[in-house]
Symmetry: C2
Subunit: 353 residues, 2 copies
């Protein structure tokens, strides 16, 4: 059985033991507090891990794009939320087709989208659950006020092909939940039943019970962890399951090493809000800093390293952002305790439509 | 014949007329001034465009990774430079195999790499041209001094399986070329012939004749252009051949639109050195600013737009960095004047090893 050290680099590696611990821990937390868990597959993009999450007790999965949902449905996943506005006739027709074979729900924030979905889904004779997407501080999508939330909910409730199922927001924070509560109460005042209140985000996942309000949790990163999660103090280095193994290919100066993992292997996402600079954490050289990325080069400042890494030496990089990193890789090498037990194609990678 | 407007989004599009103009213009410049042109395929990653570049007069191509070179060799390209240290026994064996079928040259900056290459290539009975990689200000790879350059050149000259072919650097600037000249002169003082002096980079490509010294130009981005090139004033908007078409999926406020192209479609590379903020330029809404990216969402500030884009409207985004953007896409839609004439798989995408 090959060892991690034997793999050609750069290569994304997944520690299956750590993944299973992460899945079990969050599921146990959700079970204890009575939340539904709906893992977001955008982090791993792997049907086999989605199945593990559902087998552990998740109510279903969450996919950001229709193309990801199609991959997961084809792999036997049967309950999929797409919390993302589906716009354009060809996509709505694909949604109708998907809804014929699996349970699908969607989230969106406008009457434009709701009416377009309804026109096609109603004609197709299928019904899809609809969550009203509520903005609660993140400044991305979502209705802005309780009144807008209730108006859209009432519209959805009246449209063929759609069923008003509840509200969603991202990310869950104490402030966000306070705003979400007002939106739910306004919907209920108009006589609507708000079945699901869906929140999300790994950073606050284990605080969901403090906030109240949320009935279903959409979280992705918890399955792998990353440098952002460690920087925020919500996961430990030992929890982190995803790494990129890289090789030192140049040592032009005493203070600089170049590794063969650049933005095409690590992704160029910075995580300044965690207080961490740079583009990843090198497990074997904690004093080193990945100070810049070219596409194929990681520029490493090794001035603080007592023993500098040599050309040909391999290192293990914890990426800044697991989801963005995974999307760069056609496959991941899967291991238990360093024994490589498989190479899994990242089936939903690059499904941008 | 479908039009660009008919394509499902997000989708990367390539204007073939603009590509052909860009290829012809730089080739003409190089021919006029007597430089060899060796286009870098990392920008397009498409064998068909590599062939167009060679047919126009390029001496060969340049690939950053061995895996890219293998794709190009399999597609009939016959002269390939890999200006990147090839480290690790399995890679060196792949290089030996590649060198049996096509003309391959490499660049590297250490005796460690040169000796490892020589051991396997020499045994395999193949000879590969070796360029000494010289650092001239970019702080990435490369030998640091004329003395180091000459020492490595002499070593390479003595090793079986390698032939010292010349020097390379990146990027070419006036300062860089001055340092490169000292390195060349030091090599020549020791009696070595410096056949090739290879420079690179689209921003200074059309100034190469001012610098002197460079005999061969490695450039990638010129084929497509991008927002960085426009920001630096070295290409015009009309020259730009690569775009990402996207759809407005949410208009939560008067000042904000969300498009369905985020970091997974545009890449998250910032280009602050051009004086441009944000993550792309929307051709139809020049007053708009792509102020942030989530993986699947582009956050667009439309506060300055006289007519704001509506949900369902499609827009054309010029990405910040063509090479990073292309690497996110499994295929590109190819058009002439808006008529879609093909969908090309990005054959060398994701070849990180």
């Amino acid at each position: 059985m090959p060892r991690l050290e034997d793999l050609d680099t750069p290569v994304a590696t997944v520690d299956l033991d750590a993944v299973e611990r992460n899945i079990a821990r969050l599921q146990r937390y959700c079970d204890e507090h009575g939340f539904a868990l709906r893992p977001h597959i955008k982090t791993h993009k792997l049907p086999v891990l989605a199945h593990k999450q559902v087998d552990a007790g998740a109510v279903g999965i969450c996919c950001q794009k229709l193309g990801e949902a199609e991959v997961m449905a084809a792999a036997g996943l049967t309950d999929i939320l797409i919390p993302y506005p589906i716009v354009g006739q060809s996509k709505v027709e694909r949604l109708a087709e998907l809804a014929r074979t699996v349970r699908v729900s969607v989230g969106a924030d406008s009457d434009t989208v709701a009416k377009a979905l309804s026109a096609t889904l109603g004609r197709a004779g299928v019904t899809v659950d609809f969550l009203v997407d509520c903005e609660t501080g993140f400044a991305r999508t979502g209705v802005q006020t309780p009144r807008e939330a209730a108006e859209l909910a009432r519209l959805v409730d009246s449209l063929p092909g759609l069923r008003f199922a509840g509200l969603m927001t991202y990310p869950t924070t104490a402030d966000a939940v306070a705003r979400l509560r007002e939106m739910r109460e306004e919907c209920e005042r108009t006589g609507l039943e708000v079945g699901v209140v869906s929140g999300g985000g790994t950073p606050t996942a284990f605080r969901t019970h403090e906030f109240g309000e949320v009935t279903e949790l959409r979280v992705g990163t918890y399955v792998y962890g990353d440098r952002a999660c460690v920087g925020l103090g919500v996961m430990t280095l030992e929890d982190c399951a995803l790494h990129v193994r890289a090789t030192v290919i140049s040592r032009p100066t005493r203070d600089r090493a170049i590794i063969d993992a650049g933005s095409k292997a690590l992704a160029s996402d910075a995580v300044p809000w965690t207080g961490e600079a740079g583009y990843g954490f090198i497990r074997e050289f904690p004093e080193a800093a990945i100070s810049a990325l070219s596409e194929e080069h990681g520029h490493v400042d090794i001035s603080a390293c007592r023993r500098p890494p040599e050309i040909g030496e391999t290192v293990t990089v914890l990426p800044n952002h697991a989801c963005a990193c995974v999307n760069m890789h056609d496959e991941v090498a899967v291991h238990r305790g360093g024994d490589v037990v498989g190479a899994w194609p990242v089936a939903a990678r690059g499904r941008i439509r």
